[in-house]
């Protein structure tokens, strides 16, 4: 059990079944696994959510502080996305500072949120050039069964939608925390849709064993207006332009489907 590396035989099987247009777990090539989104699970965090994508489990927590804006954006709050592949989630994960996989994961989620302008950063300024809200989005992988990007992006978005930030009063450039809270101003809903290329097929939401077989990964992040906010190719393979165009098309549909789930879960 400690090694979850898939055997060669199993790998060939996965490959062959997908070549014939099916998947070992019975899904269609562009079907997601069952998704469950729970909000507000960490009461101490200003926002939080847990996402189950099949057996993949991810928690995102949002903490809000007050800090300084970036010099070139004096009127905007800031946010950072951090991802930790904690070692309880997989025998392959090791303690220590984030490796390239964790960093790529965080940066792909970050770009989806940033480029779709999901957070209205201008509403997060308290004293221009001096004090702004600083939003930390921490993504914690608890069980890794494939497609961490989509699960993480979903968890981050759900946690942001669940976030309440403390209201401050500003007097003479001094800020004071009140006991009131307001929702984090969210104005877009970016959804990451990840494909795995296996043989000549592009499948959606690969699970762990499929990831071990895939040659290439492609993540397309689509915003609420069907616009593409971010793309990331991963893995050591390559794709034909036509494969990419088809994936982008499918991503648009899938993103709508998933967006409905997040919005519903937060009713």
């Amino acid at each position: 059990m400690s090694s979850i590396m898939t055997s060669k035989i199993r790998q060939r099987q996965i490959y062959q079944v997908i070549s014939s247009g099916k998947r070992l777990d019975g899904r269609g090539l562009t079907d997601y696994r069952p998704i469950k989104i729970e909000k507000g699970i960490i009461e101490r965090a200003e926002g939080s959510a847990r996402v189950l994508l099949g057996k993949t489990e991810v928690i995102a927590g949002v903490k809000v502080e007050v800090g300084e804006p970036f010099p070139d954006r004096p009127n905007e709050g800031t946010f950072t996305v951090n991802s930790e592949l904690v070692p309880l989630a997989s025998p392959e994960f090791e303690p220590g500072p984030p490796n390239e996989d964790a960093i790529e994961l965080a940066r792909v989620v970050d770009r989806g949120i940033r480029e779709s302008q999901a957070i209205d950063l201008e509403k997060l300024c308290l004293v221009p050039g001096k004090k702004v809200y600083v939003i930390f989005i921490d993504i914690y992988t608890l069980n890794h069964d494939g497609n961490l990007i989509d699960a993480s992006a979903l968890a981050a978005l759900a946690a942001l939608m669940n976030t309440k930030i403390p209201i401050y009063t500003v007097e003479n450039g001094e800020i004071r925390k009140t006991s009131e809270y307001m929702p984090l101003p969210i104005r877009n809903y970016p959804i990451a849709v990840t494909f795995a290329n296996i043989g000549d097929k592009m499948i959606v939401d690969p699970w762990l064993e499929e990831e071990e077989v895939m040659s290439t990964r492609l993540t397309v992040t689509v915003d609420k207006d069907d616009k593409i906010s971010a793309i990331q190719k991963g893995g050591g393979g390559a794709l034909a332009p036509q494969q990419i165009l088809e994936a982008v098309c499918i991503a648009k549909e899938k993103a709508r489907e998933l967006r409905r789930l997040v919005v519903d879960s937060l009713g």
Binding site: M1, S2, I4, I42, E43, R44, A45, S48, K55, E57, I59, G61, V62, K63, E65, N82, E84, V86, P87, L88, A89, S90, P91, P95, P97, P98, F136, D138, Y140, L142, N143, H144, D145
Partner: protein, 242 residues
């Protein structure tokens, strides 16, 4: 922090545990795992092993190496915690490892490692004890042979009153906090720390109070383990019937 009726900030009597929820086998990748909620503290533990050790020269010829990491999620505390391990986390990782070590038959698995990972998802006091309790469950869930379970609970002194299972504010504002872990069948204490100020007499009482708490936790651990096996049995039966 104790009102005129002798009740605590969260309405508990002095010798009362917080509401506790335990669940075993919550993670599919780990060899064993457990989740505990104790009041608002939420802690997850996973065990990998016995497994091959890297780098190999660390392996011991006559027993398994036990490793333990106690770690807090950045969002688990009031002010965001940097993910890099703090001095406190490093100390608690050691203390918890040493609390579990006497319970495990390490000599049965020479040249391997048994790795325990504890993640505090939300901290409201008592997380080293909750982590120890959960880790013991995860070890059992992983099928690792043990001399006894390890049950942990703190006791202490708040506003002059000796209390069981301190929450965060009681820990910070109280006069003393004493985390204890106990192996009831062996009658042995494997984790003991204290900070604050206690007379010898008070110390004795607080220790006894903590041991009582451990015994209650122990019962809950047994139930949680049983619940998992019942669940598995039901699953198997359903499977056979279908």
């Amino acid at each position: 922090m104790i009102d005129e009726k002798g009740l605590r900030t969260d309405g508990r009597r002095p010798n009362e545990l917080r509401p506790i929820k335990m669940e075993v086998g919550v993670l599919s990748n780990a060899d064993g795992s457990a989740y505990i909620e104790q009041g608002k503290s939420k802690v997850l533990a996973a065990v990998y092993g016995p497994r091959e050790l890297h780098p190999r020269h660390l392996a011991l010829p006559d027993r398994a190496i036990l490793r333990c990491r106690y770690h807090m999620a950045p969002f688990s505390v009031e002010e965001r915690k940097s993910p890099a391990p703090s001095r406190r986390e490093i100390e608690l990782s050691k203390v918890i490892r040493e609390a579990l070590e006497p319970a495990i038959f390490l000599e049965k698995f020479p040249r391997t490692s048994i790795d325990i990972f504890i993640e505090v998802l939300q901290a409201d006091g008592g997380t080293r004890c909750a982590g120890t309790t959960a880790a013991a469950l995860a070890l059992a869930d992983a099928g690792i042979p043990m001399r006894d379970l390890v049950a942990a609970c703190a006791a202490g002194k708040v506003d002059g009153v000796l209390v069981l299972d301190l929450n965060d504010i009681e820990d910070k504002e109280g006069e003393a906090d004493m985390p204890v872990s106990y192996m009831p069948n062996l009658g042995l204490i494997s984790l003991l720390q204290m900070d604050g100020s206690l007379t010898f007499e008070e110390f004795k009482q607080v220790l006894n109070l903590a041991l009582e708490g451990c015994k209650q936790i122990y019962k809950l651990q047994k139930e949680a383990l049983k619940a998992k096996y019942v669940a598995i049995k039901e699953e198997v039966e359903t499977c056979l019937q279908s």
